[in-house]
């Protein structure tokens, strides 16, 4: 039995807004005109937020987890240090979230994205698209095979560089759990200098986005590995039914 499995599931636990980044973080300049200024309207979750679509394996194919090859020409592969990125999706009650949709995207080894609006001078890799997706297994586990993304400059401050990162979009069992975040890599000196990372003020929260090197999941003579666990919102655990019969 999972931790804290003490009863019937209630609504979703509210987000900890002090732990999460604020909408307005002026050092990340784009937030200045894109951040709501009125207070958010707080309400308990309803069935509209406690439900969510189901993603079947029919939507996805096996190769979607292999970014080294999913865009490459036959017999070729993406350039860059080969890595496994793996982890477990759990909720705040530490229960694995099965069937979660995990979608990732990233720059190539030179720090260049394959996107119409991207113009960094680093070259595109003809064998790298930069996207992958998968569903977590019954315990919440997932894994991707990819290459180490490069750092790149971006127009914010006069000389701002993004640390190497992989974007993660995670869809659990409920719309209330919807989350997008970024994975950073252990030891990167650019993490502490990044205004986007700096939108998070709690150092423990920042640490929770930094994936450690995981030699136990490396493949000798093939790939290094990094572990990145993800926590989605959990539900109140109530002993008693708190909804009227039939609703």
């Amino acid at each position: 039995m999972a931790e804290n499995d003490t009863g019937k599931a209630g609504g979703y636990l509210p987000r900890d807004r002090a732990w999460q980044p604020a909408a307005l973080t002026p050092a990340y300049k784009t937030t200045v005109k894109r951040s709501p200024q009125a207070a958010l309207l707080s309400f308990p979750t309803t069935l509209s937020e406690e439900t969510g679509p189901v993603f079947g394996h029919g939507h996805l194919s096996e190769g979607d987890t292999d970014l080294i090859h999913n865009f490459a020409k036959d017999g070729e592969s993406a350039i860059g240090p080969r890595i496994i990125v793996h982890g477990r999706v759990v909720d705040e009650n530490a229960r694995g979230v099965a069937g979660a949709l995990v979608e990732i995207w990233q720059a190539n080894a030179g720090g260049r994205y394959r996107h119409k609006k991207e113009s960094y001078l680093a070259p595109l890799d003809p064998n790298f698209g930069g996207c992958g997706r998968t569903l977590t297994d019954a315990q919440g586990n997932y894994a991707f095979h990819t290459i180490m993304p490069g750092a790149y400059p971006w127009p914010n401050g006069p000389n701002d560089w993004r640390p190497a990162h992989i974007h993660f979009s995670v869809f659990g069992q409920a719309f209330a759990q919807r989350l997008i975040t970024q994975l950073y890599f252990e030891g990167d000196p650019l993490i502490a200098r990044c205004p986007i990372v700096g939108a998070i003020t709690d150092p423990d929260a920042v640490s929770s986005l930094i994936a450690p090197l995981d030699m136990g999941r490396a493949i000798p003579m093939d790939s290094l590995a990094y572990k990145f666990d993800i926590v989605l919102r959990g539900r109140y655990q109530t002993f008693f039914e708190n909804r009227p019969e039939g609703s």
Binding site: E3, P21, S42, T51, P53, W105, L209
Partner: protein, 204 residues
């Protein structure tokens, strides 16, 4: 010292950035890795209820349209049931997924969903909510996904007894949550991130 609760904290959010399309709608940005972009079709066959189009644009605090946003919606079917394993009240219309994902147009910023008018879903205390669509918005410059809801201007009676709408203190902001009927079957729902018409965003 006390015993430990053994709960873990939600992973902090980070912005989706300008290239969210690569991961979530790769076909939209010309990366043909997958068969189809997820969430681009909500109706997989003949559906129950009134078929509608919901379209809009997201504006920043200067009134400029966001051309790099991603919008997701989630809603009940015409009977108020969700096509979800978490739905316990009945079986939803199998030809309606309830979930849509749309990248805003890279030039105009417009987003569009071909969907249906949702039925009414109960609030936790059993009262019926007015028909609504749940919305989640991410983009460059948005640190954590914004939650809001689309209600319908032409559902005045249901709106007047909705448990959430009726508890909004600033009544003059309620129109920011109402989609207006542009013509038959087409509703407009513009979203303002800031300014005098700032949309009501939820912490739900």
């Amino acid at each position: 010292m006390t015993q430990e609760l053994k709960r873990v904290r939600e992973t902090p959010s980070q912005t989706a950035g300008p290239y969210v399309h690569i991961g979530c709608t790769p076909g939209f940005t010309g990366i043909d890795v997958y068969e189809a972009d997820l969430g681009n079709v909500m109706k997989t066959g003949p559906v129950k209820g009134e078929e509608i189009t919901v379209t809009g644009t997201i504006f920043d605090g200067t009134g400029t349209a966001l051309t790099d946003a991603l919008v997701e919606i989630w809603q009940a079917d015409a009977d108020g049931l969700h096509n979800s394993p978490q739905e316990t009240r009945g079986i939803a219309d199998p030809n309606f997924t309830g979930w849509g994902r749309c990248a805003s147009d890279m030039t105009t910023g417009a987003f569009t969903f071909e969907t249906i008018k949702p039925g009414r879903v109960p609030y936790p205390d059993g009262r019926l909510q007015a028909p609504h669509i749940s919305v989640w918005i991410v983009a460059r410059g948005i640190n954590i996904g914004l939650q809001t809801r689309i209600y319908f201007e032409d559902e005045a009676s249901a709106n007047s007894e909705d448990p959430i709408l009726s508890r909004i203190e600033h009544r003059n902001r309620i129109p920011t949550l109402l989609a207006g009927r542009e013509k038959d079957g087409v509703y407009r729902f513009d979203i303002h991130l800031q300014g005098p018409n700032e949309t009501i965003f939820f912490d739900i």
